[in-house]
């Protein structure tokens, strides 16, 4: 208890500083429910966007109207009424919990295990009247960010919200926005292009090695980006950046559908490392109230010798549906995809990657570790395509599935298309169960069920977890254990 009251006190004092130091009152204005051209014009106007941005949004909207919601995925979900949602600054609904007492106690238990202070728990749980920003995380990061901001600016690095960047760096945004994921790419990407409210923008100039890990944590008001987040990262020639997205704490959100778009562009000799820890609220044990995370993430390795590495740890959401991909255009470019997806209880996931080999001697590597427990169901779906000109292309794919219990499922669907005879494509897949003998061995050494499962699963995922930046890796290991609680015994 002492630690808790101390934490509250600390947060309170920070909150006060924060109030006077940084927060500006946000006018609560919102548009009515529904989606039409007027709403899009309103969003664009409120954000004081230039004309070209509005046109782009309207083009996307027009395209979206002609599209049909895809149904080829494995997880099925009830039909979404797109006219029954708010697309700009949704008003507070009465469904928000009034206090932590009304929040799913299991969620609170998890917060406690992760050591999250009370006030921040309120923010994460979406309690009414909670501060508009995650005080603790943001305060820490504000101090860190202000320290580093000068350093970043000195090197010409642009790191901020995409809304801001549209105004301050229109030439960059205009050049690259939609260049990897076009406005009509797919149903959800088109919707995102029409109505996205915010997201991150990063530009690393030529030859600059970004001196710190960039994290959404460091951006004020990051949590206001809403359900249609848009991120664009451009690494100019010879530059390097490592970007972290998400956090290990499970987050609640009143928006059930999340359809984000992330675009990465790596020019000659540039490298982007993009790490995600996704732990959106998965819903209760039957998946009720959980988030649908339908994201389009794609990278263009546009320049020669460029490299993009995706690492994702997916533990949250009721349904996860995403394929972070690499278009390997530049000769000798490299794409990597490291993934850990954990589904427990009623969670569903259909995830994987696409590696499109276009340039000569392009290489890709896919390491996917899927863990299913409870009555969860998981699909790895991946495409490796070697185009005609991709002489000497190489791919290595390894998909391992681990099952805990006998009511869950795992499926591996690899698509391989090669049009160049010099290409080498390797695929390995395994499916195994946590062995009773492994569990007993750990228990006989004094470990409880859950500790044993966490240890075994962390071993299974090691290859992926060790690609995460250090501070993330430690948290992710803890998260792996917590996500699987209650899966045995």
């Amino acid at each position: 208890m002492a630690a808790n009251s101390e934490a509250i006190e600390q947060v309170r004092s920070i909150g006060e500083q924060y109030k006077y130091g940084f927060v500006t009152d946000i006018d609560i204005e919102f548009a009515p429910k529904g989606l039409n051209e007027d709403i899009i014009r309103l969003i664009s106007e409120k954000k004081e966007e230039p004309e070209w941005m509005l046109e782009w949004r309207l083009k996307a909207y027009a395209h979206w109207l002609t599209m049909e919601e895809p149904t080829w995925q494995k997880p099925q979900y009830p039909a979404i009424d797109y006219q029954d949602s708010y697309y700009y600054a949704a008003p507070k609904t009465s469904e928000k919990p009034k206090s932590l007492d009304e929040v799913d106690p299991k969620l609170l238990e998890t917060y406690e295990k992760l050591g999250i202070p009370l006030r921040e728990q309120e923010v994460l749980a979406g309690v009414e009247g909670a501060p508009a920003v995650a005080v603790d995380a943001v305060f820490d990061s504000v101090s860190v960010a202000t320290t580093y901001k000068a350093k970043l600016e000195e090197q010409g690095i642009v790191f901020g919200s995409i809304s801001e960047a549209i105004k301050t760096h229109p030439e960059l945004v205009r050049k690259y926005l939609g260049s990897v994921v076009p406005h009509g790419d797919n149903f959800f990407a088109a919707l995102n292009a029409a109505v996205f409210t915010d997201g991150s923008f990063v530009y690393i100039p030529k030859g600059v090695h970004c001196p710190m890990e960039l994290s959404t944590y460091f951006r004020i008001n990051a949590e206001n980006t809403g359900q249609f987040e848009r991120t664009l990262i451009v690494a100019d020639e010879g530059s390097y950046v490592s970007y972290l997205e998400g956090c290990t704490a499970p987050q609640r959100d009143e928006n059930q559908l999340h359809a984000a778009v992330v675009e990465l562009v790596a020019l000659d000799d540039a490298e982007i490392k993009y790490s995600t820890v996704q732990n959106w609220y998965p819903g209760d044990e039957d998946g009720k109230g959980g988030i649908y995370n339908f994201v389009t993430k794609r990278a263009a390795c546009r320049g020669k010798n460029s490299k993009v590495s995706w690492t994702q740890v997916e533990t949250g959401s009721a349904i996860t549906w995403k394929y972070p991909s690499c278009i390997l255009q530049g000769d000798n470019s490299v794409g990597e995809f490291y993934s850990v997806a954990i589904t427990n209880n009623a969670q569903l996931a259909d995830t994987g990657t696409k590696m499109i080999h276009i340039g000569k001697n392009t290489r890709s590597k896919i390491i996917s570790k899927g863990i299913s427990a409870g009555k969860a169901d998981q699909t790895y779906r991946g495409l490796v395509r070697v185009q005609r000109g991709a002489k000497g292309a190489r791919n290595y794919t390894q998909c391992d599935s681990l099952l805990i219990g006998d009511k869950c499922g795992a499926h591996t669907i690899p698509y391989i298309e090669s049009q160049n005879p010099s290409a080498q494509v390797e695929h390995e897949a395994t499916t195994s169960r946590i062995g009773e003998d492994q569990l007993f061995y750990c228990q006989q050494r004094g470990m409880e069920d859950e500790e044993a499962v966490a240890l075994i699963v962390n071993g299974f995922c090691k290859e992926v977890l060790q690609t995460l930046p250090m501070e993330f890796a430690v948290e992710a290991q803890k998260l792996v254990g917590i996500s699987l609680e209650g899966s045995v015994g």
Binding site: Q444, R445, E451
Partner: protein, 251 residues
């Protein structure tokens, strides 16, 4: 009071009775050996004592320190100080032996109310014990039992025993698959763990192991019961005569 007392123990595996009224009593400081032909229930006994799923006690008691442990989960028994050196140690890919050991030792220490080790201190703690068993740092960095030779696996079991400092150690066919040099290393490890406060139960098919670890008592297990007990000389007698006598008697 004996450290471990087994009274009239009956146990089933897959509905078939394997142990049929076994009695055994081990005092602190003693080393007992159980010998018996294949299929006599030796391995079953080791799993019943450690509480493995699927090994069902239908009658009798297992008293550890005077307390019946039949209803206790395997991990609880382990934290209380019951250790089993496995005949076939299990592989855990991706988990280094060092991490595995630390997790186990910390679980047990926490239960005892002792301070847990941080990774740095633990390396020191393990090295002190690993050197005697001829276990290198490199081996500790490898995943638990993955790609280990038979001898390496058994030495790793001994290291776990040394690190966990159990009160009762059950060694299931620890000599199987070892050449003479490996056997000596393992036996030295076991002898080093002999302690007035600790009881040991060696389960073995051959008396060879007992040349290196000299037991205080030797028992013959046949058809699910202890049919004869004696001192070290019983083991030699068995080697000479084999188990035929006991099989006939029981049939």
């Amino acid at each position: 009071m004996p450290l471990l007392e087994i009274r009239n123990l009956h146990a089933n595996v897959d509905g078939k009775e394997i142990l049929k009224g076994l009695d055994l009593s081990i005092d602190a400081g003693e080393v007992h050996a159980i010998m018996g032909p294949n299929g006599s229930g030796k391995s079953t006994l080791s799993y019943v004592l450690t509480g493995r799923d699927g090994y069902e006690v239908t009658e009798g008691e297992i008293l550890f320190d005077g307390r019946d442990v039949v209803e206790m989960d395997p991990d609880e028994r382990a934290r209380e100080g019951v250790f089993l050196a496995f005949q076939y140690p299990v592989e855990i890919p991706g988990v280094t032996s060092m991490t595995f050991l630390r997790t186990a030792v910390n679980a047990v220490r926490e239960h005892r109310g002792e301070p847990t080790f941080d990774p740095m201190d633990f390396v020191k703690y393990v090295r002190e014990r690993a050197t005697d068993l001829n276990i290198s740092d490199e081996m500790l960095k490898r995943a638990v039992n993955v790609g280990f030779s038979g001898g390496e696996k058994k030495r790793m079991e001994m290291l776990q025993m040394a690190a966990l400092e159990p009160r009762v150690a059950i060694l299931d066919e620890t000599d199987s698959g070892l050449d003479i040099d490996a056997l000596k290393v393992v036996a030295d490890g076991v002898n080093a763990m002999r302690d007035p406060a600790r009881g040991m139960l060696l389960i073995t098919h051959y008396q060879r192991l007992l040349d290196y670890i000299v037991p205080d008592h030797v028992h013959v297990l046949a058809q699910g019961r202890i049919v004869k007990s004696g001192d070290k000389s019983l083991a030699l007698e068995l080697e000479e005569k084999g188990y035929a006598e006991f099989l006939e008697n029981a049939a």
